[in-house]
């Protein structure tokens, strides 16, 4: 097992190199000049040239790439074009915020989504099933942006006015207390919850039809144990895969939630940086997101072995 994990880490290296290559070249294909972004739209062409030289953008691209890789290997992610502050510092401040939000919303999604899926599967084709799946459909199709704003309006304006309070039940935006987590977590979880519920339902339906489930029931195993110990455990593999993928996606993809709730995460940092053509910041952020994705994938693969002892890595 240890050997397998080590090998996976070694394999991650070319993935990271490939990602750095892709992001480096693709942002340079996008028209637009960071030198103008930094020098200001009023700048003279001479100043723009000077800034370009300072940023090293006057060098041929392969040389720029080599310089970039060299710096990365020394752990230097460069300096943001927009703020003039080190890229590493900005990411160090924002990454934990994103990780927290992603973690709590996936946890929340799993705690609600998986039981709903199980319930749906065990009561397949009843009204409970229909209701659960309508709920899931809503979750998948509701725009996060809209849901976020509705939550804010509800908890900050509507509910307090019903209750006759003159202050919000939950703080509308920002960070700082556990209350700040509630709305962004719900908004970000809605989609994942729905997908997990549908995934669990499908996977459980398949498992519940297996022979060993019939055997377990025939032996007189209590129904709860049949469903959760025998059924769910075997149905978990695809669900874990989906949760892993969602974790990776949310690392960089929580932009909308972060924007609505003024949550200073890494997704917003990335999108803002693209607008400014802040090359070092884009490169740094994408790299960090890639590392996150790779790590989660390795973790998911390792989990498979724990979930299903038949899976062995050599």
């Amino acid at each position: 097992m240890t050997q397998y994990i080590l090998r996976r880490f070694l394999w991650a290296m070319p993935v990271l190199l490939g990602a750095s290559f892709l992001v480096f070249w693709s942002i340079r294909w996008v028209p637009g000049d960071p030198a103008i972004a930094i020098a200001g739209e009023l700048a003279t062409p001479e100043l723009v040239e000077k800034v370009r030289a300072e940023l090293g953008l006057d060098q041929p691209l392969p040389i720029q790439y080599a310089i970039y890789l060299g710096r990365m290997l020394r752990g230097d992610m460069g300096t943001s074009v927009r703020s003039g502050l080190p890229v590493f510092d900005e990411i160090r401040i924002r990454l934990p915020r994103t990780l927290q939000l992603t973690f709590f919303s996936l946890l929340f999604a799993a705690l609600i989504g998986i039981p709903i899926g199980v319930l749906s599967a065990t009561r397949a084709n009843t009204w409970i099933d229909a209701l659960s799946m309508i709920f899931a459909l809503l979750g998948v199709s509701m725009p996060i942006f809209w849901l976020g704003l509705m939550l804010i309006v509800f908890f900050a304006l509507t509910l307090p006015s019903w209750l006759g309070l003159n202050q919000p039940i939950l703080p509308p935006t920002g960070t700082g207390t556990w209350q700040h987590f509630v709305m962004p977590t719900i908004a970000l979880a809605a989609n994942s919850m729905a997908i997990q519920a549908r995934m669990t339902r499908a996977s459980m339906l398949e498992v519940l039809r297996s022979d060993y489930i019939r055997t377990a029931r025939a032996k007189g195993v209590p129904e709860f144990s049949v469903v959760y110990n025998h059924g769910l455990r075997n149905a978990l593999i695809p669900i874990v895969t989906v949760i892993g993928l969602q974790f990776g996606t949310l690392l960089g993809g929580a932009v909308l939630t972060e924007t609505v709730f003024a949550w200073p995460g890494i997704g917003r940092l990335l999108v803002d940086s693209i607008g400014y053509r802040d090359y070092p910041m884009i490169q740094g952020t994408v790299l960090v997101i890639t590392v996150g994705f790779v790590l989660v994938n390795i973790l998911v693969d390792v989990l498979y072995a724990y979930l299903d002892p038949r899976i062995r890595y050599t």
Binding site: I36, L42, R82, I93, P96, R97, P168, P172
Partner: protein, 523 residues
């Protein structure tokens, strides 16, 4: 069972690890609790964007200056009425020698770290901005200053390459505010994260992408402000900002969308205030290209486009139809009768100029740079169709758009294009020279390639004339010619809508987009 236990344990561990790797949070206030009546007063402003960094000489955006101008002060202050007031300077008078100015400084001012503000500090700051290595985007404001001499502790002699009337107005720009020499000496990394100025507030903390908190400067030389603590909170999303101000979790919210202004204003606890802006939105014609080389075509388009309808429909009145090439708060403003919509006249002018029905034109416009820019371009397209002109719209992303419209003569592909111009110095020189003087053809900002020797002469003369009344007259003459020759399709100037809780008094929204809380109080 082993699996489930494993899951639970690993989830809890991961959760703990995540919580541990986060910086300690600021002391938690009850969510949205308004500041208590007694005790320290806090004013919270929901801004749309975070500040770039703390270096006032390097930042370029209004939100950054709004924060930093509470910490740093300029030599002169341009008040919202467009009048210059001395601030850290007492006066700026022409010197005895040619092209020199004598700057007298206010005495008894100290920086928040206790070091004195004096002539040496002024020299260090201006030289810092002029030094190209420091990358100050506003260095051009003082590019005419050739030498800065310290005469005595409170007198500075500025030697220019020619007389330059708007000098004091330029020195009122936030980018030329005075930073403590003790801070300048510590270099750009220090300046990006720290702020030591002479202003009424000091930096308490900056939580990047979240908020900047300022506290009252106990050693402030002027009247101490009533508000103890100022928080600039970053809330990008328009809807969320509005909810915050309605719920009372912030006291001020910037950039109210025009469509929401009426609803918010109806809330008894919130007022929406309207402030004229300094940015004028226009479409310039490339006057060196057919058909825009004919003044009749340019006038015809001005008659064909209904700027008033655009302002009323798209902006719900939250914009001002242009009656000059720049907005009223700016020195030198002189109104002209707007080109009211007259389709008959437009058609007649086009026919006279020999432009046939169905002529195709290409209009370039930015998307998302100015409020509703793409919608305005589309309205112009639709209105020009009514006089038989087929306009194709093309848009580029902003970083690409600027070099495109500023491409020099040989490479320039623009027929007509939309742009906005803001005049932060509130002086006509800034508003006209770069846009209409023939020396400013692209890569300058005279994208129209407009060239009129009389306008050049008037602008040159106004630039070097000290007497404000004479200057005003020179600008009025230049504006008349420009209005008549119509190198632009004159559209509108922006208006700022700001939501403020009714218990806040004395809060200033400056035409130059600065938010000023120094004179504010909370009931």
């Amino acid at each position: 069972m082993r699996t489930i236990r494993f899951w639970i344990v690993s989830l809890v561990l991961l959760g703990l690890a995540l919580s541990a790797c986060v910086a300690p949070m600021p002391a938690a206030e009850a969510p949205g609790a308004p500041a208590p009546a007694a005790g320290p007063k806090t004013l919270t402003i929901a801004a749309g964007t975070d500040i770039e960094n703390m270096n006032v000489h390097r930042v370029t955006s209004s939100p950054s200056f709004s924060v930093l101008e509470h910490i740093y002060q300029t030599l002169f202050y341009m008040n919202p009425e467009g009048e210059l007031e001395p601030l850290l300077a007492e006066s700026l008078e022409p010197g005895e020698e040619e092209h020199t100015f004598i700057l007298k400084l206010r005495q008894g001012v100290t920086f928040s770290d206790g070091t004195p503000f004096n002539a040496e500090a002024v020299k260090m700051n201006l030289e810092y901005v002029q030094n190209p290595d420091n990358g100050s985007a506003f260095a051009f404001l003082i590019s005419r200053i050739q030498e800065i001499e310290v005469v005595d502790d409170y007198t500075v002699k500025l030697i220019l390459d020619s007389d330059f009337a708007p000098l004091a107005a330029h020195l009122s720009h936030g980018a030329l505010a005075m930073v403590a020499p003790s801070a300048l000496e510590q270099g750009n990394d220090f300046l990006a994260n720290n702020a030591i100025g002479t202003g009424p507030y000091m930096l308490e903390r900056w939580d990047r992408a979240e908020s900047v908190t300022l506290v009252r400067n106990p050693n402030y030389w002027g009247e101490p402000p009533a508000i103890d603590r100022l928080i600039f909170k970053v809330v990008q999303e328009d809807g969320a900002r509005l909810v915050e101000v309605e719920a009372g979790t912030v006291d001020v919210a910037v950039r109210v969308p025009p469509a929401e202004a009426e609803r918010i204003d109806a809330n008894p606890n919130v007022d929406v205030i309207t402030t004229p802006g300094l940015r004028t939105i226009y479409i310039f014609f490339n006057v060196t290209r057919e058909p825009f080389d004919d003044v009749r075509v340019r006038q015809a388009i001005n008659y064909a486009v209904d700027a008033e309808a655009i302002v009323n429909q798209l902006f719900k009145g939250a914009a001002r139809v242009s009656d000059a090439p720049f907005a009223p708060p700016i020195f030198g403003y002189k109104p002209n009768p707007p080109y009211a919509r007259d389709l008959e006249k437009a058609r007649a002018l086009l026919a006279e100029a020999g432009v046939p029905e169905g002529t195709s034109l290409v209009l370039y416009h930015p998307t998302g740079r100015y409020v509703q820019d793409a919608l305005v371009a589309d309205a112009v397209r639709a209105q020009l169709r009514e006089v038989g002109l087929e306009v194709e719209l093309r848009t580029l992303e902003w970083p690409q758009y600027v070099p495109f419209v500023r491409a020099p003569a040989g490479e320039n592909q623009v027929q007509f294009a939309m742009l906005g111009w803001s005049t932060p110095t509130m002086d006509a020189d800034y508003a006209l020279y770069a846009l209409f003087h023939s020396s400013e053809h692209p890569p300058g900002f005279n994208g129209a390639f407009y060239s009129n020797p009389e306008v050049d002469r008037l602008l040159d003369e106004a630039r070097t004339t000290i007497d404000p009344d004479v200057r005003r007259e020179l600008y009025a003459q230049a504006i008349d010619i420009i209005w008549e020759e119509a190198p632009w399709l004159f559209l509108y100037s922006e208006v700022q809508l700001t939501a403020i809780r009714t218990n806040v008094e004395g809060f200033i929204v400056h035409p130059n987009e600065r938010l000023i809380a120094t004179y504010a109080d909370k009931k």
